[in-house]
Point group: C2
């Protein structure tokens, strides 16, 4: 099942980092661009080089669907090929597509990405605004095919307060209520390490909320975006982990993809810069987090 595979992958690599593969064409260096007529072929080459460079340091990749959809129908094939390539390197593949719908439409999404569809992600992100009708079809696929989902709870962006932080009559905030729904949805897919294949997205930019949700959502694993480029630090995300160092993975997209800029290296050296940055991120996470379960 997904929860256990994810747990073991983090243990194997002693690294909860997720490589966020959000490739804008601008991120592809000239030498690769010049070798391909098609933008998608160039981006695929770039993605492969990122995966080749990092798959021995990072065990999990997250493809942000938007950047593939931006490339039109050919981008859909690029997405499939990128996910397949990452899987061929034994990486766990999360598709960040935040899908949401109801009934037979939710079933179609679930089948497309977690079932017998061509995309074959290990896990996708979903949005729970529609309630159980929008989530149950995905949970069923998690059970049937050993897949996973992460449901948006408290997102990393500045304006997430506008709806998510409103206080309900019950005294809870909207995101806390969503957290409670996620905990309930996750109960039917708990693995041998105590974590569910139904997880929550909680932003690195809200460390206090991260800490309190970690305490209340004891069996729910977190996917934490907002590290690096969005301002979240290793210190900020440490409370996403339980006392054994388990229960969270931390995504970095631009931090790794654009590492060459931060390090003042040439664009052509994007892969070497990414390796350096990935090792630094791993080290920083290990400094700030109590890795009992990983030592």
């Amino acid at each position: 099942m997904f929860a256990d595979r994810l747990h073991e992958k983090v243990l194997e690599f002693k690294n909860p980092t997720v490589l966020g593969l959000d490739p804008l064409y601008d991120y592809v260096p000239k030498s690769i661009r010049n070798s391909f007529v098609s933008e998608c072929d160039a981006v695929y080459e770039y993605n492969k080089k990122m995966i080749d460079s990092l798959h021995e340091i990072i065990g999990i990749v997250k493809c942000q669907s938007a950047y593939y959809e931006l490339l039109g129908p050919e981008g859909a094939l690029l997405l499939k090929k990128t996910m397949d390539y990452a899987k061929s390197k034994q990486m766990i593949v999360i598709l960040d597509c935040k899908r949401n719908d109801i009934g037979s439409t939710a079933e179609a999404y679930a089948e497309a990405y977690l079932g017998n569809g061509q995309y074959q992600a290990d896990c996708i992100t979903v949005n729970g605004y529609l309630g159980s009708d929008g989530i149950t079809p995905f949970v069923k696929k998690c059970i049937e095919y050993g897949k996973g989902i992460y449901i948006l709870v408290k997102t990393s962006n500045q304006s997430s307060f506008e709806l998510q932080d409103l206080t309900l009559e019950s005294g809870r905030m909207v995101y806390e209520q969503m957290a409670e729904l996620v905990s309930a949805w996750g109960k039917s897919v708990i693995g041998r390490y105590g974590y569910s294949s139904v997880g929550a997205v909680v932003g690195a930019t809200y460390p206090k909320q991260l800490e309190s949700l970690r305490k209340s959502m004891t069996h729910i694993p977190f996917l934490v975006p907002g590290y690096g480029a969005q301002g979240g630090s290793a210190f900020d995300v440490k409370s996403a982990f339980d006392s054994n160092g388990n229960g969270a993975v931390i995504n970095s997209s631009r931090g790794l993809l654009l590492a060459y800029k931060k390090q003042g290296m040439d664009h052509e050296q994007f892969d070497k810069a990414a390796i350096k940055e990935a090792l630094l991120m791993k080290e920083q996470l290990n400094q700030h987090i109590v890795w009992e379960g990983l030592k």
Copy 2:
């Protein structure tokens, strides 16, 4: 701008119906299936026949992205071709994809579907759980390219109450707060008929909420799913319209696609059955709604 084009299209056809093109391969009759090797080619032929049959009765089509994504990368091309074909028949094209993300990722989605991307929808559906950061990039495209969005407010499914109907400290429900956010987001794109290019999705299955939202969201047009197969009737949706009969479009997907079943006709007669059903739906809507603006 989208709001005005939509308004004029409904007036032109004296029909606020939206043809929901959610084609499962099972919906395609044998004669078409047998003529094509590829599932996507068969579905494209089916979609074309539906559009050919109905484009003189119905002026708006809504493609449900999930059913195209289910067909893999080739489904992305099918989606583009279907939308292009509907536009070639002067239909307004809504892509129901409920996208949601923040910052540069939301910009990528907006560019992909409403900007210079290959898909070129007139309008897409989006989910506002993430707040302004997740909506502003789409609103900008609405202004720049004359496009539209519909934001989920109160969805048609049974479990929509789980989050959307919770009462806030302010006394409002969550969906009412979302409605208020949508009203604010829509203020910058109001057209000459008083309606915005930023609309709201409100289910036909909740007629009371539809009525009260129509009163509070005076400049926000509604996209109303849940008619027919999901149980909403012409009587249920009449309060979605303002006193001039404007301000809402009503989607029917399975009601039209599977009309042959309802009418006891042969599967091969799906197009003739759809025409009959579309005329009936138009008539029923016209019976129950005060069409001042349309007469």
